[in-house]
Symmetry: none
């Protein structure tokens, strides 16, 4: 059982609140700046470490911008993949059991056990394609 053992601190609460207050993907630096502006001073390193924990616990999704910056957002579902617009970053969460099954089958066919998969899709969304 993944016993999520983390302590309740003012800082971790602040980070979670900042995430909850915005449904869009935000960078660690943005969150840090937002917290600082709000008066909830939190060290940048703490922001990163808190986000890291949340990602490990599966409570937060993380993606990478074209700049290589990590952006975070509270998850809405369990396991899913992302389809991201390469232009505006609009993101759709994909929940497709076909991929899961496919990955597992490929593993079995090749004698590999405990197969994990990384799947990310990038495209141009309808709006951006139009403009």
């Amino acid at each position: 059982m993944p016993r999520t053992q983390h302590r309740e601190t003012r800082q971790s609460h602040a980070v979670r609140a900042a995430l909850a207050g915005n449904q869009q993907f935000q960078s660690a630096q943005q969150l840090h700046g937002r917290l600082r502006a709000r008066g909830d001073g939190v060290g940048l390193a703490t922001v990163y470490r808190t986000l890291q924990r949340l990602v490990e616990q599966g409570e937060v999704d993380v993606l990478r911008t074209d700049d290589g910056e990590a952006i975070y957002r509270l998850c809405s579902r369990e396991h899913h993949h992302h389809l991201t617009c390469r232009s505006c970053r609009r993101t759709v969460e994909i929940d497709n059991s076909a991929v899961e099954a496919w990955a597992r089958r490929i593993g079995e066919e090749n004698g590999y056990a405990d197969v994990e998969h990384i799947v990310e899709l990038v495209g141009t969304c309808a709006d951006c394609a139009a403009s």
Copy 2:
């Protein structure tokens, strides 16, 4: 039409050759190391600048890994995916037609065009599982 004008140099040729020699996405550092190993010494900065130019010219695609590393690949190349052993790094090439179709369909269903995908499988191979 703006004819993309770039000079022919040993280095730019080497980078293009390295890209052409691998149908998968590769990082700049990987390309640099490969060139160095091959004897075609090329400065790391030059690798980056050449890749930058190729991307601007639309000859190369760029994506970001979860580590924030940029990975490059010549456009319009058929590629395959890999199933890698997390222990011994043994790698199997995977037929990709199923994934290609799946990715394209997901894109269409969501109104996304030109869908690129990153797919990586990691598991434990039979030998390593036995030991």
